[in-house]
Symmetry: C2
Subunit: 215 residues, 2 copies
DNA sequence: AACGCTACCAAGCAAGCGCTTGGTATTCAA
DNA sequence: TTGAATACCAAGCGCTTGCTTGGTAGCGTT
């Protein structure tokens, strides 16, 4: 009932992942996922997420797209360059997606719910793999690479901070709440399995919301 | 005032980290930190925490205690064996410490506060390094090693689950709340700096408590 | 004095790693 | 028809990695 109505409202304004990506590719913010470089990024994101950066070899990534390991370096300067690019692009995409969802939400609290759900979906790779490595593999990046990613990340975090500040959240300042939330949400990657008849991501988002922003 | 009184109460029943460790060494649960093996474990825990398991070499660990890399394998079967042992022992110690703190707390909510503070202190290496790798490096363990650590970990988690169940926490079942809490707390390792005139660990624990168990 | 035990060294092996080099096939614009 | 650009292969280099081997020094016990 209320759920159905909400779903309809959402659908009317929602953009599909493909459209979203295509638009970002067109404006030059993202690599075309159908290009060789894009396929490499996709494979690398999946592998980094699954096995970790250090335990993933360039040979693994190359094999995943059916080329030899040396050929990778026609597309990227180094293995770290791949990780850095994945992190940047995944952040850009997640930001666009979250901004869209937030814009569609009516109340501040629903905006926060949208942020939580968006990040949960990103962490669990619903549209694009690689988001969870932003937290898990942060230390695998050199200081220079971290700076590059941070530039994108700041824009992403600003949406969060504004949304939290507009909602009534206990526990103090928005930055602190955001950090606790990020920890709680990113850790779900290691225990939450959307497949199965347990909690759905949307239900999980509601639980989290009820803790961090009690009605 | 109330704070002082509470501090006194705590001190009267508290056991110092050294005593705690000595007792666990005596009962055979922990390696003597003054033995060569113990020194290796300590060094490994520090390095794994700082640089990650994969980026820490056995040569690094050996150098830290002043021996050659090959000599490590008189004390441990493999590099993974070191990680596994560190995780087991760090869990055993954290459990003993948390059990003591919980026993001293009066109300259910204060018990939960004690758990939160204990885990925060463990994560930030107040008595012994290595706790944060339980989450960060879990995937670096083989399935067999994970089983061994899980045996200790279950005892540790049981304290948490009982304490949460006894407190009034929003958000549903204790297991879910615990998982969100673990994520939030372990992630503090990558942003919270106790040094400085910002928040203290105890204050941070209060903030977290106010979110997860509103008064 | 002889023994065994613990702790360690010296040297190095085999495997795997990121990355380089020089060259080739294909495509498409001029 | 030529030329440049793209995408890739084949081969392998230099280095690091976890771990092994055979041996030694020091210690406490009998």
């Amino acid at each position: 009932m209320q759920k159905k109505a909400q779903a309809l409202v959402k659908k009317s304004g929602e953009v599909s992942p493909r459209q979203q990506i295509a638009a970002l590719v067109a404006e030059g913010s993202l690599t075309d996922p159908d290009s060789p470089r894009g396929r490499l990024l996709h494979a690398a994101a999946r592998l980094f997420e699954q096995k970790g950066f250090a335990r993933t070899t360039v040979r693994d990534i190359a094999a995943e797209v059916g080329i030899l390991s040396g050929s990778i370096f026609h597309h990227f300067a180094s293995k770290e360059d791949i990780l850095c690019t994945v992190m940047q692009e995944v952040t850009i995409y997640a930001r666009a997606r979250m901004a869209g969802a937030v814009a569609l939400a009516a109340s501040p609290r629903e905006k926060l719910r949208a942020c939580i759900l968006c990040e949960l979906e990103a962490i669990h790779g619903l549209a694009v793999p690689g988001f969870s490595i932003l937290v898990a593999e942060w230390r695998s990046l050199s200081a220079d690479s971290q700076k590059k990613v941070l530039r994108q990340r700041d824009e992403y975090e600003q949406i969060w901070l504004e949304t939290i500040a507009d909602t009534h959240c206990p526990g103090g300042d928005a930055a602190l709440v955001r950090r606790l939330l990020l920890g709680a949400l990113s850790h779900t990657h290691s225990w939450f399995k959307p497949r199965g008849r347990g909690l759905s991501l949307a239900e999980l988002a509601d639980r989290v919301l009820s803790i961090f922003a009690p009605a």
